[in-house]
Symmetry: C2
Subunit: 183 residues, 2 copies
């Protein structure tokens, strides 16, 4: 790959990340091209399809999230780690529509199956450790946690939560995940 081609590819990815974060996947390829200061043909040279461009970005995002989850699993309080991861993702969702659409389809479609699988596994580790530490009920399954995660992200984006509302809403969910305790 020629040097200028590599440079353009990077510019396009950065531009796409920005445009799609703001507008979701309905952002147009022309906007991406403009943001990258590149002709539209160049975008289609590097990514034969808009779909392919989206997948490239999502693969990146999934990897970053899996990393974050792994780091949190290594901490001393894994339950807090799970909740931190949860809250962090929801916060990102509010700012980046891409995150939401990604997670939304992560369960059904199979655009980037292995990346999704990696993230699922990271979350599973986080969950299992949180349960071992007694911070999360034992009858909660991975798919339940993921369903709640997706829901919260979707809700945050589509209903425009402020920080206060987000905290109070997540508090309810976290309380439902914790083992029963006398008040």
């Amino acid at each position: 790959m020629r040097a200028d081609a590599r440079r353009n590819r990077a510019r396009i990815l950065a531009a796409a990340e920005k445009v799609f974060a703001e507008q979701g996947s309905s952002g147009s390829t022309e906007q991406v091209a403009a943001e990258a200061e590149v002709a539209i043909g160049t975008v289609f040279r590097h990514f034969p399809t808009k779909q392919a461009l989206l997948q490239a970005i999502m693969k990146d995002l999934l990897a970053r999230l899996a990393d974050q989850a792994s780091e949190l699993a290594a901490q001393e309080d894994p339950a807090a780690g799970l909740f931190t991861f949860f809250a962090s993702l929801v916060s990102q969702a509010a700012a980046k529509r891409t995150v939401v659409e990604l997670l939304a389809h992560a369960g059904i479609d199979v655009p980037i199956p292995d990346s999704v699988q990696t993230l699922r596994h990271s979350i599973e580790t986080l969950l299992v450790q949180a349960q071992k530490a007694g911070g999360v009920r034992h009858d909660v399954r991975l798919d339940t946690v993921i369903a709640l995660l997706i829901s919260a992200c979707q809700g945050a984006v589509h209903a425009g939560w402020d920080l206060d509302l987000q905290d109070r809403t997540l508090a309810v969910i976290f309380d439902g995940l914790r083992p029963a305790r006398c008040s």
Copy 2:
């Protein structure tokens, strides 16, 4: 209004309900016209805009939901009523994309403000009574419940929950809404 016009209006509304339930608001006006067995011009005669057609359907839907909430509030166990309403809405969401988009924007946009307000008020009644009966925490606010409702609906649609997953996910949320209890 002439008799045939009234008949066509009804057909169009029914067709739109079906099309938009399946495809969400991205369903085309032409599909609605086809489903109603009517020319596309007729659709635009009755509803000057696609938006107007959507609003007509949503107004209907909101009214039905508010009714349902009111009925449930009149029952003997209001907390169970709230949870029933919650689960019912989520079930509908899985089948009708319209429901989701409606609720999603109910918080931000103001397409049909008074109808939304009515529904909010019905849910508030349900919540207050559930709290009085001791079935729901007192520190839970209306906007929290609505945020959770929207989230669950969004999650159900976008991640394609089956019945089992839905039950387990809602169980977590409901548990978070209930007052603390020793196991």
